[in-house]
């Protein structure tokens, strides 16, 4: 049992809704005073993570996003209901993109769900 997330969003598991999650991510990152570079990187990363998760998502399922707001740090988890989910390909180009754009990226797979967590520390912390 993890602690409650600061912001949660549930949308249909459909690429049409990815833009909503990207925009939400950007809005929250702006609120945390991330730089524009970081914000745009996060926006792209969330889009990539959603694309990876949606590949395995059940068509009638949900796409979940939870956002944890720290001081100068933002963590986003996107997950979807999936049948017989498998580990995302962490050797592929998409994963390379995720890790290049964020401070940390990890995948969580359970038998009926697949999720990716990204976090980014603000460039201003250094």
């Amino acid at each position: 049992m993890t602690t409650r997330s600061d912001v949660e969003l549930r949308v249909p598991a459909d690429t049409a809704y990815v833009a909503v999650l990207r925009t939400t991510t950007a809005g929250l990152a702006a609120r945390l005073d991330f730089t524009l570079d970081d914000i745009e990187d996060l926006r792209i990363a969330v889009g990539e993570a959603c694309a990876m998760v949606l590949e395995q998502a059940r068509a009638d399922g949900d796409l979940h996003a939870t956002f944890d707001l720290g001081s100068g740090e933002l963590s986003v988890t996107v997950s979807a209901d999936a049948d017989a989910a498998s580990e995302p390909d962490t050797d592929g180009f998409a994963w390379q993109v995720l890790t290049a754009l964020t401070t940390r990226a990890s995948a969580e797979v359970t038998p009926d769900a697949v999720g990716i967590t990204l976090s980014m520390k603000s460039a201003l912390l250094d």
Binding site: D33, D37, E40
Partner: protein, 264 residues
Amino acid sequence: MDHVDTGVGGLRTTREQSMELFAELTADDVDAARRIECRDALVHLHLPLVEHCARRFRNRGEPFDDLLQVGTIGLLKSIDRFDLDRGVEFSTYATPTIIGEIKRYFRDKGWAIRVPRRLQEMRMMIGTVTSELSQSLGRSPTPREIAERIGVTVDDVMEGIESSNAYATLSLDAGGDGSDEGGPSMLDAIGQDDAALEHVEIRESIKPLLEQLPAREKQILMLRFFRGMTQSQIAAEIGVSQMHVSRLLNRTLEQLRESLQGSA
């Protein structure tokens, strides 16, 4: 066209059939009538791909049949432009063109979001202030810093940035200046930084796609992901705004993703 098997399944895969047809279509010793047959056969063979692409745009207020029709125009264009020697699967090559054609159709129908004048001005102001602040701060500014400089709220700035993302559909095509000088030298240039990525499937699946990207898109992608430069640094290096870099990156990644899915 009795000797052209356009049926699905059967003994030969779509891929093999299309390779053979393309080989014949481009051979020197084939007469015009036969060429037309081959082209027809190729179209029939790949109609399912058009359907697949068009399906993504269902429920957006346009009849599915119309989407199929414009998608097929994209397919025809791809068939006429395809070059076997590039070593790319035809489906990989055709998917972005088909999707592009469908998107253009929506755009021409006025579907793309119209950005109000107020937001267009905000967008331009954000662009100017962003480069000023990047200069004076030596790093990318935060939306708050931009907002304070312009004298508006952070929400106004974010709204302006969102609108500039929506604006992309209108301005991107005009964006590329088609300068080709970065072409092969970019791939040469990444040679030494590439070592850590040896294990990545990029060699097999991405490289042919990268080769097809316009020089500038390829350069931005390389600088961001293989050189680890920030969007601001890239913007300074190639002389466009950071927002433009962001848009180009987004679009290029989306294209790569669609191409990879199309070829899977």
